[in-house]
Amino acid sequence: MRRLTLVSGCVLAGAVVAIAVVSFLWLPYPPEDTSGGRLAPPGLPHLLGTDKLGRDLFTQLMIGARIALGVGLGSVALGGLLGVAAGLVAGFATRWLDDTVAVVLDILIAFPTLLLAMLLVAVRDASLGSAILAIGLAMSAVVARLTRVLVKRVLAQDYITAARTSGTSWRRIVTEHVLPNIWPTLVVNLALQLGLAVLAEASLSYLGLGPPPPNASWGRMLQEAQATVLVAPVGAIAPGVLVVALVVGVNLIADGLRDVADPTRRRTR
């Protein structure tokens, strides 16, 4: 069962990753080629048909995969880095500072990602960078809170007390005792966050706050296909299916990883 979860997750997410990688090497049509005719039906020569402007949908989807993964991985990197750093600081800090950080984090977590993104877009312009920044910042709060709790739990262990009484430096405690003990849980959490980030990017683009046109983002493809969904449903279904495939895939991987990383779960199942 556990294997199956991990494997099917890898297949789903891997397919999207493969599409994104292939898109750098080969595309069925140039991205700006409008020669396909308005809303051509799926078939040949356009596998999934074309959009209103006559652009090949499959090509758009492939480019959309790049953007989804790019924003997803970019914001996980940003959110992970910021979150883990803030969590470590809070975990080690004196009670007063720790409480302050905890309150700030709770407020940040309660703040909707989309609202934060809209504020950022108002200050900066709508772009790939703004999307990554907004999603990454929102994510860092979640990651920081988790890290803080994990760090505290490790610091309460007897071997840490032993290390401290034997005069081990804080830096060595972090690198040799804390991080190795918390990273499996963190990785699982970051994998879950990746799925959420992909969804957040699609929502932002749907609202017109993502990377500006003509970048083909799945969210905006959905939005553009909305007006034509009655006459050309594939235009809306195809990006939707890919978003689902990627998010479900990533979540299955996270589930599978958790089972592998957590020995207690392995025994009880």
Partner: protein
């Protein structure tokens, strides 16, 4: 079900013809008399019904001299505010608050007699002082009215008595009366016009819930024929699909103008809805900033115009509806000529012109694109077309507010996309201070001379010259003319079917 469609469309066309035929009828009822399918419905219509109108154009504010935008024209023109004259749905100018007018033989003095017994919504009577105030509001220094420059010829406005207005002009102005149909007569004592109103129209403002609805209630003290309904509520949507869904679920009774041809499929062949395909004056423009490089060069503008396949763009967005125009003049203006061949779609010609202008390898520019349909789609298409001649377009998506401040007011742009909704607006190319900055002394002179004409023929001839010249200079790139598609529930009749100036007279709408 499908078999009925041709009949319905046929009926609508027949009625549209009838409307044109009886357009000279007087009083606000005239639009309603020959209404589509109204013959059966009007007998049993409910005078206490409220009409729910769905629109994509929410006003920015309620003052059309302070940048209220096309939304406030749609909701208020003729409904809340009235002018001395009215432009009917068929494009005719008829007397409204002015009972009669006299023009002196030299064409420089206009004497208007005001209709008696007209009161504002606040209860104050209409006097000549209000007319003077209202005209001066449009011509004031801080006025943002797009029609402001049309009134530069006014030398003085005198009010010898409460019922008489005498306007002296510094120069002859053949379209002065037509222009006055744009001037809302507002109570001179009214305050806070951006959020409230005091007009003479058949409706008074109910409530305006920003971002959602604007309601108009029947004004019981109205001087003319009472509206055929109790009131109207404009429901504002930012997205066409949501708007169409509202119509499908009966949340609204009518959609003032459909912006997507694909959505029509759900109404076609359905007896519950009627679709009309009327005249529009809305043009989609790729407006260059003619003051700045590289678009200060006529050849570059021509090259860009020739590099874009307008036909393909129109078909992409409107799927067979709509019309190509080679210039600013829509077919409903008297000085229309087909100029689509002046800057034909010809990529090789575009490349030659670019090379001649000193840009053999193209250039880059930023296209300020309003965030709402169809602008982003059009921008994407333009980017892809111009890439073929080596021009790299960066699409900068901005809101309607930003467009107004950045482009219209501050002229801080290189090129932009915008819909221009008015009829007879080719004359703006005679104003070098307009946002697009087209400055051709000949054109400015012809526009001026056309205004000075003694006859409409003379005016028409000169404006045709203007039209040809701006096309030849590619002052802007006129991408296409919108169709005006109205979809309404079939129990509705008497609504306007043409989108002239984006006005939408609601007083004739009957619901049964």
């Amino acid at each position: 079900m499908n078999r009925k469609t041709p009949w319905l469309i046929g009926a609508v066309i027949a009625v549209a013809l009838t409307l044109t035929g009886c357009g000279s009828g007087s009083g606000p009822e005239s639009g309603a008399q020959g209404a589509p399918a109204g013959t059966a419905a009007s007998g049993s219509h409910d005078p206490e019904a409220t009409i729910e109108i769905g629109s994509l154009y929410e006003p920015q504010n309620l003052d059309n001299t302070a940048g209220g935008g096309q939304g406030v024209t749609e909701a208020f023109n003729g409904n809340v505010y009235e002018g001395l004259f009215r432009l009917t749905d068929e494009g005719k100018v008829e007397n409204l608050l002015a009972e009669s007018q006299e023009v002196s033989p030299d064409g420089l003095t206009y004497t208007f007699k005001l209709r008696q017994g007209v009161t504002f919504h606040s209860g104050a009577p209409l006097t000549s002082a209000d007319v003077k105030y209202s005209i001066e509001k449009v011509t004031a220094d801080d006025s943002q009215s797009a029609r402001k420059s049309s009134f530069d010829v006014i030398k003085s406005i005198e009010t010898p008595d409460d019922a008489t207005v005498v306007v002296k002009l510094s120069d002859k102005s053949i379209s002065f009366v037509y222009n006055l149909s744009y001037v809302w007569i507002i109570n001179h004592a009214a305050k806070d016009l951006a959020t409230s109103e005091d007009g003479t129209g058949p409706y008074k403002l109910g409530a305006w819930k920003r971002g959602s609805t604007l309601s108009l209630d029947r004004f019981d003290g109205y001087w003319g024929t009472k509206p055929a309904n109790k009131g109207v509520v404009f429901h504002y949507f930012t997205e066409a699909t949501a708007l169409n869904n509202a119509l499908l679920t009966n949340a609204v009774d009518i959609v003032t103008s459909e912006q997507s041809p694909d959505a029509l499929a759900q109404f076609q062949g359905n007896d519950d809805y009627k679709i009309t395909n009327g005249k529009s004056t809305t043009k989609l423009l790729l407006a260059f900033n003619d003051r700045v490089k590289p678009f200060n060069d006529r050849l570059v503008r021509k090259a860009v115009s020739s590099a874009i396949d307008d036909k393909k763009l129109l078909d992409s967005i409107w799927a067979g509806y709509g019309t190509l125009i080679g210039s600013m003049v829509p077919p409903s203006d008297p000085w229309y000529e087909d100029l689509t061949s002046v800057n034909p779609y010809d990529v090789n010609l575009a490349k030659q012109q670019l090379a001649q202008a000193g840009y053999p390898d193209g250039f880059s520019f930023t296209l300020d694109t309003p965030s709402y349909d169809p602008h982003p789609t059009a921008a994407t298409f333009i980017k892809s077309e111009l890439a073929k001649v080596g021009i790299n377009v960066t699409i900068n998506v901005i809101t309607a507010d930003e467009w107004y401040t950045k482009v219209y007011k501050n002229r801080d742009f290189t090129a932009t996309l915008q819909e221009h909704v008015n009829d007879r607006d080719v004359v703006w190319y005679g104003n070098p201070d307009f946002y697009w900055g087209y400055d051709n002394p000949d054109v400015a002179k012809w526009v001026k001379d056309a205004e000075r004409s003694d006859t409409v023929e003379q005016q028409t001839e000169l404006l045709k010259k203007v039209n040809r010249q701006i096309a030849d200079d590619a002052a802007s790139d006129w991408l296409y003319l919108y169709p005006q598609i109205v979809v309404a529930a079939s129990n509705l009749s008497g609504y306007p079917v043409n989108g002239l100036n984006s006005q939408f007279y609601a007083y004739g709408i009957k619901k049964s």
